[in-house]
Amino acid sequence: MDAAVWAGIRQGFFSCLILAVLLPTAGRDCAAASFTDQFTPPEAHGFLEVRTGCRTQHDPHEKDASVMETRLQGELSTQTDWAQFKYKGDVWYDGILEQARYDTREAWTFLRPSDALDLKIGRQILTWGTGDLVFLNDLFPKDWQSFFIGRDAEYLKAPCDSAKASLFSDVLNVDVVFTPRFTSDRFITGEYVSYWNASQGRLVGDDHEMDFDKPDEWFTDAEHATRLYRNIGAYELAAYGYHGFWKNPGGVSASGEFIFPRLNVYGASIRGPIAGGIGNIEVAYYDSIEDSDGRDPNINNSEMRYLVGFAKEISRDFNGSVQYYVEQLLCYHDYRAVLEGGHPRDEYRHVLTVQLTKLLMNQNLELSLSGYWSPSDDDAYLRPKALYKWTDNITQEIGANVFFGARDDTMFGQYQANTNIYMSLRYSF
């Protein structure tokens, strides 16, 4: 009896010992196996696209071709229970620059560590605000070059290397975006599009690319953007704050180089249903802190920016929106008092925008027109486009960027010689 008990205990003891030895090993094996098992099979997608376009008139400062590229976009994504991962990158041969180019569009990790918190860290595209192709409180980088030469609308938003934390509660939601190193807009430098160079007092292009000095110190030249928002019924309310720099060159240094002075922006918006459509109002105060009293002629003055918009379904599959946008230069008296020569800006810049979109043929054909008209600058910009889906994978697009202006130094007037038409063919997979 005793012997049997002892035998049992001994056996039990050894079993335990063996288990104790085996378990960590098994555990480790499981952990190793389950680490890769955690990830869903990576999904790969993308497109191959050919895009060509040309100026409709001769521009002495640029090539006749406005865009000429063969582009491959690839996208890989996977996820686990605790995170999502995405990479998206473009490689293209740029016939205008006569070189192969590469750009990472997205490379991020997304985490949802708690019910009240989302984190997205890495290279990403960011957008907020209520404007339709007009940006007041959205100070995330834009790519105006791509927009004006007729690349897909996707490329108007440029990526930035940021960390975005989103906090959610019943009372208020908060987005905080930290960009450790300033990311400017991809602005017009003359590389693809000729422009009015104020310091030269003339139009210039790729023969005279812009000379600029961009803040690029990690953390010292960081950007902070915040949005507080909540919905009340069907109405979306938001308040915004930004601490960073003018996203386009906002001043000139003593040596004649374009610079990016510091800028703070504070604003608010509301969007919601009204009169059978969607209405939006957005305001922003641009505090040009390096020239707060407007006495420095070499640095942008502070501004107020106002936007009111209305969008409505005009008839079946036909949508329209109108916006009225105003930029008000603050300390205008001081600006005029210290300005020497050149073309003074108006105190108010008024812009009216119109967007029309019509879907036809089972929504496979999309006709659209975006228009900007500034009665104060006496200039305009039109973007007509026709997009046809031949199949679920093959899309063809034809469009134009048309600039008008009475003078060479206004926002759209300076681009008149860049008026272009373009065509693209895309295979998505």
Binding site: D118, K157, N231, A234, P273, I278, N280, E313, R316, N362
Partner: protein
């Protein structure tokens, strides 16, 4: 969803859809539609807060991931095509019974035959529709739409109904569910076949799923 036009050209739409009813009378519904195919609309999200019978438009949003853009859609017309198919928005989410006058014009062994005439004929493209409603499940198995001259121009047919089991108040119940249906446009010769798989009910979707947070970052429920 498979759309076949008159010439036999085929388009496919694949999406995952979440729906939450905010009341028991189907008046307040929320939809979250996450596109999987075709690739040019992949990961786009369409969200609707539907207000049936209320004197206000549905609220619609579209999220475009490549721009990180949340767009508010000003669509007041509920009888437009759903993503280019032959189904209309109202076919997906249901038309309020209060918008039509209903008459029982016949019965068969299996069906009630109802004629429905809109109270506001200017708001819709049809003059009337006839629905054949299954006597046991009360599902309209065939709906034929007529123009003012009495000509049929549109037919929706249910091709398959499955009984989907679910939990309701702790008890097991079975909901008869349309899993295959077809819409035909007799004028254009186009037709759309719609198939639903992995249907689940009462899965406890929270109200917060139908907000900007999840529009920007889809919930895992719809991403498989």
């Amino acid at each position: 969803m498979t759309i076949t036009d008159k010439q036999g050209r085929i388009r496919k739409r694949q999406f995952n859809m979440l729906r939450r009813n905010d009341d028991s009378a189907d008046r307040e519904q929320k939809y979250f539609v996450y596109f999987v195919e075709p690739s040019d609309v992949r990961k786009m999200v369409f969200m609707v807060h539907k207000h049936v019978g209320a004197d206000r438009d549905d609220d619609r949003w579209l999220y475009m991931p490549s721009l990180d853009l949340v767009k508010r859609i000003a669509a007041s017309d509920k009888r437009t095509s759903f993503v280019g198919s032959d189904f209309l928005y109202e076919d997906i989410s249901g038309r309020s019974p209060e918008e039509d006058v209903h008459e029982l014009i016949g019965t068969t062994d299996a069906h009630y035959v109802m004629k429905n005439t809109p109270k506001d004929p200017d708001a819709v493209e049809f003059a009337s529709y006839i629905a054949r409603i299954d006597k046991t499940t009360f599902i309209p198995m065939e709906i034929e739409y007529f123009k003012a001259d009495g000509r049929p121009y549109r037919i929706i047919k249910v091709l398959a109904v499955e009984s989907v089991t679910a939990q309701e108040n702790g008890k097991q119940v079975a909901y008869p569910t349309v899993v295959r249906s077809q819409a035909r446009d007799l004028e254009t010769g186009s037709q759309t076949d719609m198939e639903f798989s992995n249907v689940r009910y009462n899965s406890g979707l929270g109200d917060d799923l139908f907000t900007e947070r999840y529009l920007r970052r889809a919930p895992s429920e719809v991403m498989q």
